[in-house]
């Protein structure tokens, strides 16, 4: 579904990504972790071309992201993305947040779009909040709406960039629960997260990044059993003792 091959990226002379290679198969859940500044966000943003890269290739559902002929808006519409800071549109109601891209990008009618949005809102347990504005919801609620907004586009896969790290601890689980449910339904997911409980529960593989490189790319059991690299071991010890 997602094939990342030898991707390197520079900001000026600073290399953010070094020869990254991995893949996410259909219905697979891959967790990406690593210290701050290791390039996790950058890598995941390369997948839906929010960030350009200078070397290598990324193929999503058979379409090469780096190909100048690729219709990027069309590709992105099929790849759901959830951000650390939710990024709901604060000037629109929850209903409009859920409906606008369906209407303007997919060309659905307003009624159909609202209908679909409300169904997904119900699924994340927020049906009663439809008429409110994002600023009136808690962080956890906003993030669940953001997930519903991405799902409303019928994505073929979902990207998550630290979806719970801006949340108060008591709200983390309500968001993780939605993600776990998604994983169980067979959604293809690439998640940057340090929630190792989540990784243990649903991940197929765990990727560990450090200084722009993929240092470890292992099946969940192997990763938690005994990571091969010392850096991953140190990192795991640090975040598991938290």
């Amino acid at each position: 579904m997602i094939e990342i091959k030898n991707v390197s990226k520079w900001y000026g002379s600073f290399q953010v990504l070094t020869d990254c290679t991995t893949q996410v198969s259909k219905s697979e859940v891959v967790v990406v972790c690593g210290p701050s500044g290791s390039g996790k966000s950058t890598l995941i943003k390369c997948v839906n071309a929010l960030e350009p890269f200078q070397q290598g290739s990324i193929v999503v559902n058979g379409i090469a992201v780096e190909d100048p002929k690729t219709d990027l808006p069309k590709l992105r519409a099929k790849v759901g993305m959830v951000f650390q800071n939710f990024e709901l549109f604060p000037h629109m109601t929850i209903t409009d947040n859920l409906a606008i891209a369906q209407i303007k990008v997919l060309g659905r009618g307003r009624e159909e779009a609202v209908d679909k949005g409300l169904k997904l809102l119900d699924r994340v347990g927020l049906k009663s909040q439809a008429a409110k504005f994002p600023g009136q919801l808690s962080g956890g609620q906003q993030q669940r709406v953001a997930i519903a907004r991405a799902l409303a586009m019928d994505p073929i896969c979902m990207l998550f960039d630290e979806p719970t790290s801006a949340l108060d601890p008591e709200m983390i689980n309500e968001v993780l629960d939605v993600m776990v449910q998604l994983a169980h339904e067979g959604m293809t997911m690439m998640c940057v997260t340090h929630e190792m409980g989540f990784a243990r529960k649903v991940a197929n593989r765990v990727i560990f990044m450090d200084r722009g490189a993929i240092v470890e790319d292992a099946a969940k059991e192997d990763f938690f059993g005994q990571p091969r690299s010392e850096r991953a071991q140190t990192f795991l010890a640090k975040i598991l003792n938290h």
Binding site: L50, G80, M81, N85, F89, P90, H91, I100, V105, A150
Partner: protein
């Protein structure tokens, strides 16, 4: 001459009202046109296409460094010449009409700076979210960035409009008759400056004060809930 005699106002009301109507019409035209062109200029300035950046920067800098009176005069002289070049025949458009054009073009420079800071105040993540949903650049601007920028900047935009409203009086330079100009002409003839200018001041005050109250009201009504 010793007593105040406000009958001069009543006697010339129609002429004053005509002037006020003109002032308001130019204000509204230049506000709407100026915000539209200003927004386009702001987008050009912030685009990644260098010639567009230069054009927008040049536009803004030129109009912000030339006194408005001079622009009003220059455009009054130049517009007919340009029109003649295009149409091939002499097309005098008159002082009153030339001011609509001049103020729109001039104010666009100021509105564009306001819209530029408004656009820049929108977090990068909002733009990323727009793109991630499959919006094009234009859609991201139209549905995500500009509505928020506009709301954030509304008070400043309206404050600029109040300044614009007051600046319309400069059309005296080309002999057009706005509200202030009308009062001035009557004063020259009837020699009742105190009554006339008091009335003019009161009207300007009432309109500007109402507008600034409106700014406050709008601010609380359409403010983004955060």
């Amino acid at each position: 001459m010793s007593d105040f005699d406000f009958s001069v106002i009543a006697a010339n009301w129609a002429f004053l009202a005509e002037g006020l109507r003109y002032t308001l019409q130019v204000t509204v035209t230049a506000m709407l046109g100026g915000i539209l062109i200003g927004t386009l200029l702001a987008l050009m300035r912030l685009s990644s296409i260098v010639p567009l950046q230069w054009f927008a920067a040049g536009y803004v800098n030129v109009f912000r460094s030339v006194p408005l009176v001079q622009v009003i005069l220059a455009f009054y002289l130049i517009i007919p010449l340009v029109l003649q070049m295009i149409t091939g025949k002499s097309t005098p458009i008159g002082a009153a009409n030339s001011a609509y054009f001049t103020f729109t073009i001039f104010e666009a420079a100021y509105y564009s700076e306001i819209m530029r800071s408004g656009i820049q105040s929108i977090p990068k993540g909002q733009i990323a979210a727009g793109y991630a949903l499959g919006f094009t650049y234009g859609q991201t601007m139209r549905f995500v960035v500009l509505p928020q920028a506009f709301r954030n900047m509304l008070p400043v935009l309206l404050t600029q409009t109040i300044i614009l409203f007051q600046d319309i009086s400069l059309v005296y330079a080309i002999g057009a008759t706005d509200f202030f100009g009308a009062a001035d002409k009557i004063t020259q003839r009837d020699l009742r400056p105190v009554e006339m200018y008091t009335t003019v001041a009161v009207v300007y005050f009432v309109i500007c004060f109402t507008l600034s109250r409106l700014v406050k009201l709008l601010q609380s009504r359409i403010a983004i809930i955060r």
